[in-house]
Symmetry: C2
Subunit: 198 residues, 2 copies
């Protein structure tokens, strides 16, 4: 059986990164796809592990050649998911997890409709605001913009295959893993039925 | 909040009708949409309850005017789901359940992509064959055709939002109701977040 592509997305501050890390730690049957970036390699990072590092020109070429499943630009640097990395894993029967922004998730939905999209919901908008404030990365103006973006992203949330609330981290991680296992078992069951001789 | 349209489908012999009846009996928050048919009314049936009865000409007019969410022809009679009946329930905030053949479900997916499609799986193909034989409605040739159709339908099963195995009826009904409640709560949560003042 082919693997399944799972996409974990949601507004900034819902804890995508933390949930993704925990899911991968607790479930060794799911693989992370390595992203490509045009930003320079940093100390402690490894080519082909942290990222595939390519020049901006090469990245733009890859976009033009349809080699990207999704991409986005942050602070003038390109970040994206090369199709070949994902497809290789899926063809070899491995389930893959991508953790990306909602814009990227929308691109994946279009190019790869059989992907399973998971939208992380905050317990409340007040709580989301407090998380953004307490991580202290952005100014109040930037936080206001992120909350505005979150509202827009929430309007797309029902296009995802499922929505999971990240209130308690442990509960949330367990729900994501349950969802992944359920989907895996469902596709396995369909496959078994199709292969049954009668 | 608007209601959700749930579609229960699956190959002939998976027990769609029985599961649907039990779900409606046990969950009073979900409503059945009344279908239209061009076949004559029978003893014990009620207009607007069992079916909406219309002439064949009227039915074809309704198709041509885009008034049908889905339809199919069996033994020369038309059967289908008028949009207005479904939309009225959904607009009034009610969740609706449709029990239809896979061809009809494919039409609904196209016209109403926000519908939640549930595919009923048999525990095995052997078991499906036995169910078709033991209900004694079809000849062995017809059963062979139904099993062939089931294989084709199974190839579409992963396009449904979820797949539920009908092995033990009680477990299956509970899984369908759980799925309906989960989806209802997820949409409610998104709605609450969007309506929260911050």
């Amino acid at each position: 059986m082919k693997g399944i592509l799972f996409v974990l997305s949601g507004p900034s501050g819902t804890g995508k990164g933390t949930v993704c890390k925990e899911v991968l730690k607790r479930n060794k049957n799911i693989f992370l796809s390595v992203s490509a970036t045009s930003r320079p390699i940093r100390d402690g990072e490894t080519e082909g592990e942290t990222y595939y590092y390519v020049s901006k020109e090469k990245f733009i070429d890859m976009i033009d050649n349809g080699e990207m499943l999704e991409y986005a630009v942050f602070n003038g640097n390109y970040y994206g998911t090369p199709k070949h990395a994902v497809y290789k894993l899926i063809e070899s029967g491995r389930d893959v997890l991508l953790e990306i922004e909602p814009q990227g998730a929308a691109q994946v939905r279009k190019l790869f409709p059989e992907a399973e999209l998971i939208f992380l919901l905050p317990p409340s908008m007040i709580e989301l605001k407090q998380r953004l404030v307490s991580r202290g990365r952005e100014s109040m103006d930037e936080i206001k913009n992120r909350l505005k973006a979150a509202r827009w992203e929430l309007l797309q949330a029902d296009k995802y295959n499922t929505q999971i609330i990240n209130d308690d981290l442990d509960d949330c991680v367990r729900s994501v893993i349950d969802y992944i296992n359920t989907k895996h078992n469902q596709r396995q069951k369909i496959d078994d039925l199709l292969n049954e001789e009668i």
